[in-house]
């Protein structure tokens, strides 16, 4: 799974559950824009997103890693999940 696939996965999930076709526009050009501070996701949404990523990307996310530092923007999510997938492969 490439970073672009993970990015698409997150955008689609945001559209399916919260923004219905407007997620990409809401995030805009700054893909490191904070989800929490910009109304992209709330804390309940965070939990659901992590569960979804585990299922869809077949990765185990260590609950100690669940923090805004790893998940509070599109860029952070893609970077974190890509790293986990690489780690799992090696």
């Amino acid at each position: 799974m490439q970073p672009s696939d993970i990015r698409r996965l997150v955008i689609d999930w945001l559209d399916d559950n919260y923004h219905f076709g407007e997620a990409e526009a809401l995030i805009g050009d700054d893909e490191d824009k904070s989800f929490l501070r910009n109304g992209v996701l709330d804390s309940l949404g965070f939990v659901k997103l992590i569960l979804h990523l585990e299922d869809a990307c077949n990765v185990q996310i260590d609950r100690k890693d669940v923090s805004p530092a790893n998940f509070d923007s599109l860029l952070k999510v893609v970077t974190y999940v890509s790293a986990q997938l690489t780690k799992a492969r090696t």
């Binding site: 559950n17 219905f20 076709g21 407007e22 569960l51 585990e54 077949n58 185990q60 996310i61």
Partner: protein, 663 residues
């Protein structure tokens, strides 16, 4: 407050029968009823005075004592008018002051283009000749008479002939399968079977001979078969007499005035529940309760008069067939349409309504949707000059459908009526004194103390389960083969002791209107929020391309509340549910309902499960998406859609998340 769709016409209200009755009641009780709210409050609080006043005012043909009006105060056991006697058929067939005996009582139009008219004198003569023939065959009061019948005048004639003798009538329509018919009639053990032996629907002529042969063979109680129209089936069981209707009734009619009066609770009609949970219930309705409730609904709520012409789209297997029949007691001519309302095209019924100068048109949300989906512009089909009210029932008529009717058909009062088989009448009706609010039923039925049951208890307004707290005459007199009343109690009273619990989730508004939100057992609880499926339908069905929708709750261990919403949609012909349309539906629900209303899954299907009565069965779909077998496939009109749901990959019961599974 909901926007007003149409304000009441002051002149219509002033001259309405509801106003006349309110003034009459004011004279009786010595206080004014300036509006419907005050009238209904009195009619509910002092229901004995109300029903007695109504019987006096309506001038029905009755004998015996009006006192006591009602024995007992419990809805489940109270009995109305134990000293009063009447003959239902005589009340419908008698000459009425100011009504032309040679004017039409029944008008038949068929999809094949046939037109027939039967005047009141001829209808009386024919029905009473049928009564004479039944009497000769030894049919007595209380015997059951069954019919497999098209929506045609001869079916109404023989129904009235049976009722004239005090026989108990039960009918089904030709589209009901043999097993389903037997599941109903075998319980009743009818002595006479009336049957059409062929019918035409959507341009196709179908024989009913095999079915009639099987019914006669499997109903050993039947002594006489009367063929209403069509060939006489060969090879019938020995011991059953067979006649054609014209031969059967070739007799001197009984005298109308010589007909016997029967007790108020004498069994008149047997209607059937859909049977989704087992063998259909045979719901027995009394002659007095049926007559009184129907006349009240016709004259007061619908303002029906002899100068009107009523058409209600129904079949002999639905309670609205019995309901329209009683309009004869008011002297209103009734149009019957036999065939498909959309053959050879979707304008056919509209042309008939216009040509026959129908003033009150009863239909269903499905028909309105059919017109809309077919691109029909009713205004271009006819002028509908006589039309003064449009009634709709069977399912919920949504706000957008009100708008469509007003913009494309005619802006007349819309009576979104609701009640059903169980009460052979309505809890929600039209009302000439009140405005029509968009998407809502105008008013509650006079004298029926309807409340909602919700936390913290009974309320006059708000959202909750519909209950009726006072006795009413059109409650079933009993359920067939239920001598101890256990099934009767379980059906209507077990859930809330002492209250008639109807099974509908409703919103009773502060301004006196009402809105059905769906069946109570279809209510979903998502993240702690109770959601009626209709809350979704009103939004989804307004989206172009969506023809039908059904929402059900599916258990989902991954969701915070343990469940999620599944939305099934049927799209207009040729359309496929793509991502764009999926997101459009979700967005509309999020914005117009709430984020909690957004379904987790939207799945396109070719059809939605419907009961034999044509009602959508959320229960069947819910069982399937939760991995349970539906209770009774035979109770569905289209059981094949269950297989489609079973095989649909998006509808499989969800598994726990990977992390949870590992635990």
């Amino acid at each position: 407050m909901t926007p007003i769709y149409l304000a009441p016409d002051a002149a219509v209200a002033q001259h309405s029968q509801m106003r006349a009755f309110a003034d009459c009641a004011a004279g009786v009780v010595g206080r004014a009823f300036p509006d419907y709210a005050s009238l209904n409050r009195w009619a509910c609080d002092d229901f004995r005075a109300f029903w007695r006043t109504f019987v006096d005012w309506s001038r029905l043909d009755i004998s015996g004592n009006l006192d006591p009006v009602c024995v007992g105060d419990a809805v489940e056991t109270a009995r109305f008018f134990p000293g009063l006697r009447l003959n239902y058929a005589r009340n419908l067939l008698r000459p009425l002051s100011g009504v032309d005996e040679r004017g039409p009582a029944l008008i038949l139009r068929t999809e094949s283009g046939e037109r027939r008219e039967i005047d009141r004198a001829a209808l009386r003569s024919r029905a009473l000749a049928v009564a004479a023939a039944l009497q000769e065959q030894g049919v007595r009061a209380g015997d059951r008479v069954a019919a497999l019948a098209r929506n045609a005048p001869e079916a109404l004639e023989v129904c009235l002939g049976s009722a004239a003798l005090g026989a108990t009538w039960s009918s089904v329509a030709p589209d009901l399968g043999t097993e389903a018919v037997l599941g109903r009639f075998q319980q009743l053990e009818p002595v006479v079977l009336f049957a059409h032996t062929e019918y035409v629907h959507h341009g196709v002529r179908r024989s009913l001979e095999d079915r009639v042969r099987t019914l006669v063979a499997e109903l050993p109680s039947v002594r006489q078969l009367v063929v209403l129209d069509g060939p006489v089936p060969a090879g019938l069981r020995d011991g059953v007499r067979v006649s054609r209707l014209e031969d059967f009734r070739a007799r001197q009619p009984l005298e109308l005035d010589a007909l016997e009066d029967f007790p108020f609770d004498h069994p008149l009609f047997v209607l059937f529940s859909s049977g989704t949970t087992g063998v259909p219930k045979c719901i027995v309705h009394g002659a007095g309760g049926t007559l009184l409730e129907h006349v009240k609904e016709h004259r007061l709520h619908t303002d029906l008069r002899p100068t009107d012409r009523l058409y209600f789209h129904t079949s002999a297997g639905w309670m609205m067939w019995n309901w329209q029949l009683t309009a004869l007691a008011t002297g209103t001519p009734v149009l019957l349409y036999d065939g498909s309302p959309s053959f050879p095209d979707a304008t056919v019924l509209l042309r008939v309504l216009d040509e026959e100068r129908i003033s009150v048109f009863g239909t269903s949300p499905a028909y309105i949707q059919l017109l809309k989906e077919s691109g029909v512009e009713p205004r271009a089909v006819g002028r509908f000059e006589a039309l003064r009210a449009l009634q709709s029932t069977g399912s919920i008529l949504y706000d957008a459908q009100f708008d469509w009717i007003g913009e494309h058909f005619k802006r007349v009062p819309i009576h979104s009526i609701s009640g059903g088989t169980d009460i052979i009448g309505c809890f929600m009706l039209g009302n000439p004194l009140m405005p029509v609010y968009r998407g809502e039923s105008q008013s509650l039925s006079l004298g029926l103390d309807v409340r909602v049951l919700a936390e913290p208890g009974l309320q006059r307004t708000g959202v909750g389960d519909l209950v009726c707290v006072n006795p009413f005459p059109s409650r079933p007199v009993f359920i067939w083969n239920d001598p101890q009343g256990a099934r009767f109690h379980a059906s209507y009273f077990a859930e809330n002791e002492g209250l008639w619990t109807h099974g509908d989730r409703v919103h009773l508004t502060e301004w006196g209107s009402a809105r059905v939100l769906g069946r109570s057992d279809g209510t979903m609880k998502i993240r702690g929020v109770r959601i009626g499926p209709a809350e979704l339908y009103s939004v989804v069905l307004a989206i172009p391309g969506v023809s039908e929708a059904m929402a059900v709750e599916q258990a989902d261990p991954r969701e915070p509340g343990g469940s999620r919403i599944i939305l099934l949609v049927v799209l207009a012909a040729g359309q496929t549910l793509d991502r764009e349309q999926t997101l459009r539906i979700k967005k509309a629900l999020s914005q117009k309902a709430s984020p909690v209303h957004v379904p987790a899954v939207i799945a396109q299907v070719s059809g939605l499960p419907q009961t034999l009565n044509g009602k959508y069965s959320e229960r069947a779909a819910r069982d399937i998406v939760n991995g349970r077998a539906p209770p009774n496939r035979a109770a569905l009109r289209n059981p094949e859609v269950l297989d489609e749901l079973l095989a649909h990959p998006a509808l499989q019961p969800p598994q726990p998340f990977m992390g949870d599974r590992a635990k």
